[in-house]
Each structure stands twice: as structure tokens, then as C-alpha cells.
Symmetry: C2
Subunit: 273 residues, 2 copies
Amino acid sequence: MRDRNAPVGVFDSGIGGLTVAREIMRQTPGERIVYFGDTARLPYGSKSQETILRYSRQIVRFLNTQRVKAIVVACNTASAYALDELEKETDIPMIGVIRPGARTAAASSANGRIGVIGTEGTIASGIYTRYIEAIDPKIKITGKACPLFVPLVEEGLWQDPVTDEIARRYLGELIDIGIDTLILGCTHYPLIRSTVGKIMGDKVTLVNPAYETARELKALLKERDMENDEKPGILDDRYRFYVSDAAEKFKRFANSIIKYGILSARAVNIEEY
Amino acid sequence: MRDRNAPVGVFDSGIGGLTVAREIMRQTPGERIVYFGDTARLPYGSKSQETILRYSRQIVRFLNTQRVKAIVVACNTASAYALDELEKETDIPMIGVIRPGARTAAASSANGRIGVIGTEGTIASGIYTRYIEAIDPKIKITGKACPLFVPLVEEGLWQDPVTDEIARRYLGELIDIGIDTLILGCTHYPLIRSTVGKIMGDKVTLVNPAYETARELKALLKERDMENDEKPGILDDRYRFYVSDAAEKFKRFANSIIKYGILSARAVNIEEY
């Protein structure tokens, strides 16, 4: 077993997983984090299972060189396509973003109608449906791919009439179906949570898998007696960020999401792992 | 020198280069084409020069295994970042999409004010500016990155109020500057040419580098006496499509662009080249 003061590895196709890292920072402020964003090969949402698995394996190998004590797959597509395989191949605990969100949604829904929004890859995988049905087969889950949400978020249009209009088109059918719970099944979506909430209305509960995943990580570390027990160190040392490309751009975006700011993001040639 | 009846290699980060392949099919219907779309690693527009060069080299190695007689870099980002290097490393003729568009724009502008729209990578590279200034240093070129155009095109919103609104925001400053010529500096953009044309108005000439590139290829093959002289064969044999991922999705999109339809798109693990 690895050192309890080793970092938690967090990875995503790019910047979206920063919303998960942010929740981990909030909920377990004592933990070190090594974050990897696969910015050279993003987005994962429209790519095939085989490709996502190959990419994820390379990243897990890289994170293992950083001696992480646990890995959070902070990407819905990689959680959907690669987590089951990765768990078989690695001996450190791994948490994806899907199971925690699915569990919370199943517990939250009163009328048994749940919606899931995400990238094409996540929705096509049907993974949320499988997880929720395993909990309660009577629940009806409706998935809706929203391919424009990620570029709109990355363009900074978090609150904008164009994002409202696109959201109205994507979400219309979920409103018609009468869902009472909606899973934000892509790590970018917490950033347009207010737009989605406005369109869905007060009666629909929004489930944020980033929040639920950080909770699950906290419980896991506690249960296995693996919580970091160092005295809080300086930020620069505690959180390390790596990307496969364009570290400067990543840093700029990260600084709009993570309030502490990011001091540096180092570039890694991930194809070598 | 390679066989005159060998195929022309055409590559892009994904589907955008199909607008260039389409022009080659129209202008030189006798030529065979091997198309490669790097769908596993798209988009190129937001990635760094180093990464784009690494990817482009792999693709050129792959195309050389197909014994192509010439290569068209049907991607603005790869043309901007990699073409000069690739030309030094390869002995077959290469054509990018930037030089032909730059030349036509310089010849077309009467008032010496030219606009260029493209991805972040293409605009940040300043490549159109350099090429046009080399032709006529008095011309003033203004670049504008339009990151949402590609996802809007890929979502099929070629004619849509949302695309109109985003286009108005992006193009406003180019209208204010009083450009008389606008280069569609991304291979996706010919598909929203009518939207862009409507907003820019009749007095602005739109330059489509896909068209100009196919013209340049035609001239080059003629000049070097390398035109295909076979009798027209069947389509299946004449045009071959390869992708690094998700061949089915590529096929679907390709069939909306290329009127002949695409019979098959084979998957290649490009990281092995």
C-alpha cells in the first residue's frame, strides 16, 4: 500500500475535470493532488471505446510514476468506457464520476424519471442507465447528448442568451418527459449549472457528479485509513498540474475555475507512457 | 518519382478537409484520392505547434505507405504549423491550404483590407498575415478566431439563428474595419458560407481556400506531367478514406458533404506511424 501522504491522482481529457479537482480541494483540503489533463487529445466525448481505453491506460501509467495513492477518473467518457478495465489492471483504488452521480440521482428521484445530459460518448455508452437500473430497475432514465455545451463553456459563454437558446433545445424533451432529477453528466456542466437550472425549473433536482465523487473519495480514504496527515504545506507543492499540450491555455482556464489559482502546469508527452 | 496514376494524399484533423477533397473531386475528377482524417486526436485548432507537427509527421508516414504522388495538407492548422517542416523532410510535392487562399485574397482586395477567420491555432500562428504581407506589405490583415464555428457546423446548424447570432458577434469587428475580402480560413467554414456571406454583405468577397487549393493541385500536376491517365474506374476504388477513430461517425458526416457518398472508411492506429 502506498504512503498515506501520497497525492490523489485526478485525470480528465482536459479542463473539465478541474470541477472535480475543485470539489476535492473543498471537501478534503488536506489531500495532495496530481492532476493530468489530456489537452493534446481532447475531447474524449466523440471518440471510441478502444481509443479512450488506450489513452486512459497511458495516463494511469503516468500517474503511477507520480506514486499516487488513489485515482479519480474525473471524466465521464473515460469513466464510462475505461474504468472497469482499468480497475482490473491496477491495484490502487479508483473512483469514476459516474457511479457516485448515479447513486445520488437514484436516491433523489421521487417520480422515478431521471434525465442525464452529457457528451455523445457518455450518452451513447448508456452507462448511467446501467448503473441506475442496477440500483432500481423501475426507474426510467432518459439520456440526451449536448455536444455544444462544452465549446460554449470553453468560449466563456456560461451565462449568455445563445447558451440559453441551445439549452432550451437540448433540454426540451427532458422537460416534456417530466423528469424530477437531472444528472449533469459532463464535468464542464457545473459551470453552466445556473443556465440549466433556470430552464429545468425549481422542481427538478440537479445532481453534480463532481460533488458526489469528491464525497466518495473522502469516504474511501477515511474507510481505508489513508487520509493525509501532514501539516498543510504551501499551495505550489500541494497541487501539481500536468497537461499533454498547451500548458499556458490550460493555466488560464484553470485560474477561472479554481479560486486558489494555479501556479504552473507542466507539459508531458503522454504518448510515451 | 512516383507513378502518375498513384493517388493524391489528402489529410486533415478530421472531417473538415472533406471540403477540400470535394473540390479536388470536382476539379480533377480523374485523380485517385487517399484521405486521412485524424479523428482520434481532433481538433487541431487549439493545440500547440509541437503537437501538430508530431501528428502531421505520423500522417505523412502513413500516406507514404499508400504510395501517394502528392500530399494536400487540407487543414489550416497543420498547414500553418507543420507544412514548412514537412516539405523539408519529404521529397514528394506538398500543398497546404493557406498559400492558395492568401494569394487569391491579395489579388482580390481593392481597398487593401483583408479579414481572416479560423480556429485559435490558425489565427494565433499569424500565417495568413505573413503570406499576404510577403505578396504585398501594404495590405492590412485582421485575423479573428471563431472557436464555436466548428462545433456548430458539426452539430448540423449550418443555417440556424444561433449560428447567425454567433457569426454576428465574431464578424462585427471585421465589418467595422471595412474589409473587402474575407478568407474562410478553416476547412469547415465553406459549409456556413451562406451565413457568413449574409452577415458580411455583398460587397465583401469570400475566399474559399478549398477551391483555391484544388486549383493549385490541378496546375501542379499538369506542370509536372503527373496527371492520372487511367480510364475512370469505379468510385469504391478511386477514393479511399482512413480515420484514426470512429469510422462510422466519419462516414455519416462525409456523406452529408460529398455527393457521391463514401462507401467505407477504415480505421488506422496512427500512433504506430
